[in-house]
Amino acid sequence: MAVDLRDQGYPRNDHTPKDEPASDRLVGIYTRLGINQEFDISFVGRPNEATSAQWECFPWAAVRLHRPYSQSQFLPIIFKAEAGCAVATPGSRGFDVSPECSHMNLVTVIWSMIASACLTLAAMHLLVWFRKRTAWANLLFALTAVATAGMAACEVGTMHAQTPEEFGLFLRWFHVPGWLMIVTLVGFVRLYQRAGRPWLAWTVCGLRTVTLILDFVFTPNVNFRQITALRQISFLGTSISVAEGVPNPWMLIGHASLLLLVVFAIDATVTVWRRGERRQATLVGGSIIFFVTAGTLQMVLGMWEIVHMPLTPSLLFMGIVVAMGLELSEGVLRASELSDEVHETEARMALAAEAAGVGIWIWNIALNEVWGSERWMRMFGFASDADVTFENVMQRIHPEDRETVEREIGRALAERVDYAGEYRVVLPDSTQRWLTALGRVHPEANGSGGRMLGATLDITGRKASELEIAHQRNELAHLSRVTMLGELSGSLAHELNQPLTAILSNAQAAQRFMAREHVDLDEVRSILADIVAADQRAGEVIRRLRSLLKKEEVHHQPLSVNDVVQEVLKLMRSELMNRGVIVHVEVAKNLPQVQGDRIELQQVLLNLVINACDAMAERSAGTRRLRICTELVDTASIHISVADRGVGIPPDMLEQVFTPFYTTKVHGMGLGLAVCRTIISAHGGKLWAQSQPNHGATFHLTLPVDARSAEQREDKHE
């Protein structure tokens, strides 16, 4: 589209020289503009009238350009053309179409590039700060870059100012990004470099703020009391404006702030250098010192008109921005490399985890979000895209295991120790799986919240085998127990018959007393009390027998070893008496409890006592002595020994006695000691034999102390 400038109300220059045809002068302009007249331009106005007296004075023209040349937002009048534009500025005598205007204006290009580069960097680092709000250095850098862009814009404004007022206005607004630039620079040094004296920082910022306030107090600005005229000078091949006028002495405050900024930067750089971070000191510290010094010199020299040059601090501060950007980019680059490494590690880990059948999970405690790998989600029966919380996970855990899992996780969090546990999960389709999990707490730096990372493995198959083995062991243990009790049946019958005798005889005596004319009621009361007591005793015997005979799942619970010893001695009382065995019991007082199955531990002790009695059968009466001792060993385990004065065991048979089907008894199955060792192993303990031939044998067993009982014991001691 072509625009006829006469229609825009601009005056027409009528100084048309006769000596030079317009077409010749246009050819000259086109040549300087680099326009190929033949192909690139066509006139829509009247070219013959478009002539002027001087080269710099071109009255008007309406041209159509067929390819783009340049455009600038800072130049007011644009000849719009179909494919691009030629540019003219209104001059005092019409329109000055200067070749520079149509060229790529170097000042505009450079300053625009500075602004664009700064804004791009600012956007990038602002995004970084948005994503990670603790990255204050990135925010400060973004603000520094924005300030530089703002300064660049104001500088271009001053350079292209047409009037002193316009210049003054752009210079006044220049101080706003200038203030932001200095304040953020100081902040960057303090926060990122962790250097610089605070009082200097505050002084610099304070002086700069005062300068900014004064800038809006004075007219036209803090730099000039008055701008008398604009002088056009050539800068980078472009005609630009510089101001002439009366400098404002208050600007010395601004200059002082810049000088202090240099001092502050030097001090900070020395600190960083001494700290050993020399690259950072050189790059960031060095650039701040150099460019701020250069900027300050330029401001001072320009203001006092020692040199005539335009205001270009943004060009200098761009150097600082680049240095800071490089420094931060180093961090971003490292983070990116680390991210790549992490991704690679994650991929490897996922591959390894998948191959090993392990599910990976991360629990963000503060947000209560559980992330799990696909396998982990499948293990718990969650959809792969489900949002999972800790409570969701707990709901999947078998009700019988839930409390233990919650307690153990709570302990891991409180004590910052690793979690390890085995539990069952009930999936939505009611199938049950056994899982084992390991977790590690990663607390936040401030000690709160944090995350727990872990791995979970499906052990249903292993557990089934274990349960089958345990079941078979229980069956065998039960069989062994029943066999053993069969051997004791006579003694046990005696134990039961004693209270039954008391009951029957008492009752029959009472019947006889009651048949008399004078009933002695006191006697009858006494008889009834004895019957009750005997009945209770019989009940006890039956209960003891029943618990040993019944087939039940193993139930571990905290129990006292001394109680187990006493129970066994009660059961064996009659047998020991029959066999004429004298028992010495030496039990340690205040023993901590052990975790165990009462019946199984009774079985082991019964077995050892019966074996001891058998071993002494050939000994003469009065020498059949059995010694049972309990004691605490190194606070972690309890030691029980059963020693006899029998024939003893040959040294080469000390281990063999624990092998299945090994027996020296006529009617023995040879399972007793093998089963005992299995039981004690299942309790986390050990069972072994010692013997001096002909001086008897001693069977030793150790059982680990119940952890909670040990803690209570320690508390008591404290």
């Binding site: 005798t501 009951i503 029957l504 005596a509 005997a534 008496m577």
Partner: protein
């Protein structure tokens, strides 16, 4: 001269059994002595007393079999009714061979016990009466 009541000794290590048997025998009109151990009983022996002993075979230290042996050694013919809560054919045979007049299983029924005492002590009373007569006939 009234016939003196039978004196029966009970030897059992369990107090509840001793007490119950004592009550039962007293309710049947017998005089009763009780002993917790075999040695106590053996130390208390006097000629012609008691008329009968109810002896538990299973006791600590000196058991019923040892008491029977000791009585044999002392030529004391006090009739013994052996009782036991640990009944085996061997024990029965051993007790009877050891001189026990009767062998009863615990818990023991009153009729069985009293009848055993009666039959065991019958011979001894007859003998006692003969001995008493001999003494009275002797100038």
């Amino acid at each position: 001269m009234p016939i003196p009541r039978l004196l029966v000794a009970i030897v059992d290590d369990e107090e509840s059994v001793r007490t119950a048997l004592r009550r039962l025998l007293r309710s049947a009109g017998l005089d009763v002595q009780t002993f917790a151990t075999g040695s106590e009983f053996l130390e208390s022996l006097k000629p012609g007393r008691p008329d009968c002993v109810i002896l538990d075979l299973h006791m600590p230290q000196i058991n019923g079999f040892a008491v029977l042996s000791r009585l044999k050694e002392l030529h004391n013919e006090v009739p013994v009714v052996a009782i036991t809560g640990h009944d085996t054919p061997e024990a029965r045979e051993r007790a009877l061979a050891g001189g026990a007049k009767a062998y009863l299983r615990k818990p023991v029924d009153d009729k069985s016990l009293l009848s055993a005492i009666e039959s065991a002590s019958a011979g001894s009373r007859k003998a006692a009466r003969v001995k008493a007569k001999e003494r009275s006939d002797t100038p």
